[in-house]
Symmetry: C2
Subunit: 565 residues, 2 copies
C-alpha cells in the first residue's frame, strides 16, 4: 500500500498535530478500554463552572491514532474484542481451521447450538455485554459530570448508561453491529437516542481501483470520522478485498451480499439462486461482516408502480431483484427465505440493514406508492427479524424534496416500529452533480434532526464516478457537519460544549485551538495559513480576524467597546 505523506499510517498524521493525543477510558463491568482523542487547549476555557484545558472527542480512527500500535496492513489491526473474553465464552468454533484466504489464523466462531449470541438476545435477557458498556462510555466522551449539570434537551440531559444502551437494544430502537468474527471492531451504536452516525461507502467496480486503494480509503474514512464503512465492491477479488478491509477496520463493515452473488453467476441476475445467495451470506459471515444490506422488501406487486416512475429503480440490489422476479416469474427469494436468512444472521450476530430497493432516484419519484409500499414490507420483516433477536435497521432515500423529508421519517417510525433509520442523503434536488455531497448534507441534517440514526455519505462524485481518497474525505467531513448539526438541534450536551469551546477560542483569537476543534483541522489550518501568506502577514498569528483586517475586526472592536464605560 502506498504511503503518501498524508497517509493516516504515517506517525506525523496520526494525532492531527501535536495538540491531540489518544486517551483510553477503562470499563468498570468489563476489561475494556475505550479510545478517544483528547485535544489539548492552549488556555483554560470555562463552561458552566467547569474549566476545560482539554476536550475529549468521539474518535472513529481506532488504533490508527494510537502511537503505541504498529501497523502492517497485511496482518491487520489487533483483535481488541478477543481480550474481553465474552465471545469465546458465549460461542463455539464454526470450523476446524481458519478458512482459505483468511489473513489471520483465528478460527471463526458461531453461536452455541440452541443458544443466542446477538446483542439483542443478551439485551432481552437483561445481560449487559462488553459492547454495550463500550458504546455507553464512548457516547459520553468523558463528559458525564458536565452533562449532569449542564445537559440541554430531554433525552440527552443525562449521561448514557450501559443499562440504557441495553434497554434501547432490547426495544429494537438501537443496534450495535458487531459480528463475533470481527474482533478488530471498536463497537458503536446506531439509534436515534444516541449520537448521529455516518457511513462511508467504498469499494471498487469492474471499472477501477485496486484492493490496496480500497483498504486505504476505508482507513482514511475512519480517520475523518466515518462511523461505519460499507464495502460495495463489485469487481474482481471481492472476497480478498473484503478480507483486507475487515482485518484493518476498527469500524463496523457492511456489505450488500447480492453483489458478490451476482459476480458468481457472471452478472446474470436471473441466474441467481437462493442456495448460492445463502452460501455467500455464510462466506461473508465467517469473515466478520457486521451488517448486510438485504433487499427483501421489494415484491412483485411493487413493480408496476415502480415502472411508472421517472427514474425506475435506482438501487443496485433492487434492480437485480426486480429483474430476477420478472425473468423467473417468482416472488423475491430474499423475502421467501427471510426466516432462513435470519437464522444465519443470528448465528454470528450480523445486523440486517433492510434495503430500500425502491428509494426514489429523482425528486419526482419521492414518497410514492412504490416507496412506501416497500417500507411497509420492511416493517413486517423487522418484526420477523426481531423474533430471531436479529438487530435491524432500515435503509431510506434517496432523492426527496426538502418539504417531503419529514414524512419519510414519520412513516418509517410508524411502519418499522422505531427500528433505526439509515438514509442516503436525502438529496433535495436532482441538479447538483459535482456537489451532491452538499446536496445530501442538506437533506441529511433535516432527516437526522427528525430522528434518522445514521446518514450514508454521498461524495462529490455521486452520479459521475467512483470516489477517490479526496472525495472520501470531503464526503465524510460534510456529513459529519450534518450529523453534528442534528446532534446540536437534538440537544446533545457534548455537541453544544464542542461548539462553545470553539466559539470561545474564536473570540480569544486562539487560532490553534480553533483549528484543533474544527472537524477538519488540517484544512482549517491550511486555508488560514494560505490567507495570511497571501496577505503578506508574517510572524505570530494575529489578534484580529484575517477576513477583515485589524481596523474592521468586529470581535476586536466588540471587545474594545465592552471595556468602555
Amino acid at each position: 500500500m502506498a504511503h503518501s505523506n498524508q497517509d493516516p499510517h504515517c506517525p506525523e498524521h496520526r494525532l492531527y498535530g501535536n495538540s491531540s493525543r489518544k486517551i483510553h477510558v477503562d470499563g468498570t463491568l468489563w476489561p475494556l478500554r475505550v479510545g478517544m482523542r483528547e485535544i489539548t487547549l492552549s488556555r483554560p476555557y470555562l463552561s458552566g463552572g467547569q474549566e476545560f484545558t482539554s476536550f475529549p472527542i468521539y474518535d472513529t480512527s481506532g488504533p490508527y491514532s494510537d502511537p503505541s500500535v504498529t501497523f502492517d496492513p497485511e496482518k491487520g489491526i489487533p483483535p481488541v474484542r478477543d481480550g474481553w473474553g465474552f465471545i469465546a465464552r458465549e460461542s463455539d468454533r464454526a470450523a476446524a481451521t481458519a478458512p482459505e484466504g483468511s489473513m489471520t489464523t483465528r478460527i471463526p466462531r458461531k453461536a452455541k447450538e440452541g443458544s443466542g449470541i446477538t446483542q439483542m438476545h443478551f439485551a432481552k435477557k437483561g445481560v449487559i455485554t462488553p459492547e454495550m458498556e463500550y458504546v455507553a462510555i464512548r457516547e459520553n466522551q468523558r463528559l458525564e459530570e458536565w452533562t449532569l449539570s449542564h445537559g440541554r434537551g430531554a433525552v440527552h440531559a443525562t449521561p448514557v448508561t450501559p443499562e440504557f444502551v441495553r434497554s434501547e437494544i432490547a426495544r429494537g430502537r438501537a443496534i450495535i453491529p458487531a459480528n463475533i468474527n470481527h474482533p478488530e471492531l471498536e463497537p458503536m451504536i446506531i439509534g436515534r437516542n444516541f449520537r448521529v452516525k455516518i457511513n462511508a461507502n467504498i469499494g471498487n467496480s469492474a471499472l477501477s481501483s485496486s484492493i490496496a486503494e480500497e483498504v486505504e480509503k476505508s482507513v482514511w474514512a475512519c480517520r475523518w470520522g466515518a462511523d461505519t464503512v460499507m464495502d460495495l465492491s463489485t469487481g474482481k477479488n471481492i472476497h480478498t478485498t473484503r478480507e483486507w478491509i475487515l482485518r484493518n477496520s476498527p469500524v463496523p463493515i457492511g456489505t450488500v451480499p447480492i453483489y458478490q452473488a451476482l459476480e458468481k453467476v457472471g452478472g446474470i441476475a436471473e441466474a441467481l439462486t437462493w442456495e448460492l445467495y445463502r452460501d455467500t451470506l455464510i462466506e461473508q459471515a465467517l469473515q466478520g461482516v457486521d451488517y448486510f444490506t438485504i433487499h427483501a422488501g421489494i415484491l412483485r406487486r411493487h413493480l408496476p408502480p415502480a415502472e411508472k416512475r421517472l427514474t425506475g429503480i435506482v438501487s443496485r440490489g433492487g434492480s437485480i431483484m426486480a429483474k430476477w422476479c420478472k425473468a423467473n416469474g417468482k416472488e423475491n427469494f430474499l423475502y421467501e427465505h427471510f426466516e432462513e436468512i435470519c437464522e444465519i444472521l443470528e448465528t454470528y450476530d450480523i445486523a440486517v440493514s433492510l434495503g430500500d430497493a425502491l428509494r426514489p432516484g429523482s425528486i419526482s419519484d419521492a414518497n410514492d406508492e412504490a416507496q412506501f409500499g416497500e417500507l411497509k414490507v420492511l416493517g413486517e420483516l423487522t418484526t420477523a427479524a426481531w423474533q430471531h433477536d436479529v438487530q435491524v435497521m432500515i435503509e431510506g432515500p434517496g432523492h426527496v424534496p426538502f418539504h417531503m423529508i419529514e414524512e419519510n421519517m414519520q412513516k418509517q417510525l410508524e411502519y418499522c416500529h422505531e427500528a433505526p433509520f439509515y438514509t442516503l442523503g436525502p438529496l433535495v434536488t436532482d441538479i447538483a452533480a459535482g456537489y451532491d455531497h452538499v446536496n445530501s448534507s442538506i437533506g441529511g441534517t433535516l432527516i437526522a434532526f427528525h430522528g434518522c440514526s445514521m446518514l450514508c455519505y454521498v461524495t462529490p462524485k455521486e452520479h459521475l464516478g467512483l470516489p477517490d481518497r479526496d472525495d472520501v474525505r470531503e464526503g465524510v467531513v460534510v456529513h459529519r457537519i450534518a450529523a453534528h448539526a442534528a446532534d446540536i438541534a437534538k440537544g446533545s450536551p457534548a455537541a453544544w460544549l464542542h461548539d462553545e469551546l470553539m466559539s470561545q477560542a474564536r473570540y480569544a483569537f486562539a487560532w490553534e485551538d480553533q483549528f484543533n476543534l474544527s472537524l477538519d483541522p488540517e484544512k482549517a489550518r491550511k486555508l488560514h495559513t494560505e490567507s495570511l501568506k497571501a496577505a503578506g502577514h508574517t510572524g505570530a498569528d494575529p489578534d484580529f480576524c484575517t477576513m477583515c483586517g485589524p481596523d474592521f475586526c468586529s470581535m476586536k472592536k466588540s471587545k474594545e467597546a465592552k471595556t468602555l464605560h
Copy 2:
C-alpha cells in the same frame, strides 16, 4: 485585468459550452429585452404533454454570456436601462457633469424635486415600471404556458405578472434594488413569492487583493449564479474599486457605507460623524449603489445584553456603531438620523438593507434578547422607510442551531411586516471551519423554505481569510443548491421542471444534457471525464452509470426488467 483561460470574458467560456445560447425575451409594456440562457437538449423530453428540445434558465450572467457584446472592463458594460427611457423621463440631473473618478461621461440623476422615483413610489401609484415588467418576464423563464398547465404549489401555480410584481412591491413584500444611477443593471426582485436569490460578498481588505481581482470576482460571481453582489471593500481605493465594480455589474451592488466612512476617519470608530456618513451615502448614491446595509437598529439599550454573549458583536458595522455609542455616550446616529437617511435613499431609489448588528456569532448566542430586541427596532425602521417609499429588506443571522431557525423567520415576518428577509446562512454549527459554505447552505435551505427571500453566501474561507475566485465559485454554487432546493420545496414549477429534465437525461444516459442541466456544468463534466479516464474507458460515453459499471448499473437493469413480461 488578467484573462485566464477560465475567464468569463473569454468567448469560449461565455456560453457554458456549445449547448447553451443567450436568448432575449421582449417586453410588451416597455422596449426592453430580458436575457436568458437557453440550454439545447440532445433529444426531446416530454413533461406534462409538452415537448422540450431546449430549456431556458434564469440567467444572472448578463452581457458576459452574450456573444454580441464586447467587453472592456475600463469602459464598463452597456447601460441597458437608459434605453428604456423611463429614468430620463422621471428624474432630473443631479449634477452638471460626471463626478470626479467616474468611468463614464454619464451625468448622475436624482428624483425630480417634490416627486418620487422609487419602485415603491410607482407601485403604490399603480404604475408598472420597466423594472417590474423585466423581473416578471425574468422570473417566468419563458415557461408561462407550461406553468399554467402544470404548476405545483399555491403561490407559484400561475405565471408571474407585472401587476403581481407591482402589488408585492407596493405591499413592501418584495423589492427591486435598482439605483437610477446604475443603468447597467438587469433588474431582479427579492421577495418570498419569487425565486429565492443569493448574494455574493466580495471586496478587498487592508490585508489583500487588488481592484482588478475584485472586479473579476464580481463578474465571476454573476457567471456562477449570484443574484446580487456586495462590495465590502475596506482597504485603500474603496471609491475606485466600487466604480469599477458598478460599471461592470449587471446585478445589483450593495455596500455597507460605514466602512468607507470609517476609512475616512482613519479607522477610529468614535471619530465618525453624521455629516461624514451622510456625505458618504451621497457619494455612493451618485455612483449607483443599489442597496445600502445600514446598522440603524442597534441601540444603546441592546449593548448590555450583547456584552453577556459568548462572542459579543460579530457584525463589523455593528461593532463600529457599538463602539461609537459607548465612546461618545450617545444614541446610534444612524437611528437618530434615519429620516434624513431615507430622504437620500428615496432620491435615487436605493433600497435599505437593515443590518442585523446583533446577529449571533455562535450558536450559543442565537435567538437571544439582543438579537430579537434589535429585530423589533428594524421593524419600526421598516415602517419609517416605507413612509418615504424606500424599499426595505431585513438582514438576518448568522449562527443558529437548526431547530431554532424557524423562529427567526416567524419573528422577522411578525416584527418587520413581511419585508423581505436576507440572511447570512444561518450556520448550524460553529465547528465547520473550512466547510462553512456547506454549513451555511444547510441552514440557508431551511430558512429559505420558511420564507427567507435571499441568502448571503458563505465561502470555504469564512472565519479564516478572504475568498479567492475558486472560493467565490464554490460559495455561489453551493448556495444556489440551497436556494433551488427551497424553490422546489415551495413548489416553483420552473424548479421542478429543471429537475425533471435532469432526471430524464440521467435515466436516458444523456451525459451532455446532464452536464448542461447541472448548476456547475464544467465541474460535472470534469469529474465524469476524469472518472472514465481513470477507469481506462475510451470512446463514446457509456450507456451505464460510471459509478457501478455495466453489470451493476441499476438504471440499466431497471430498464431491462421493464421490458420483461
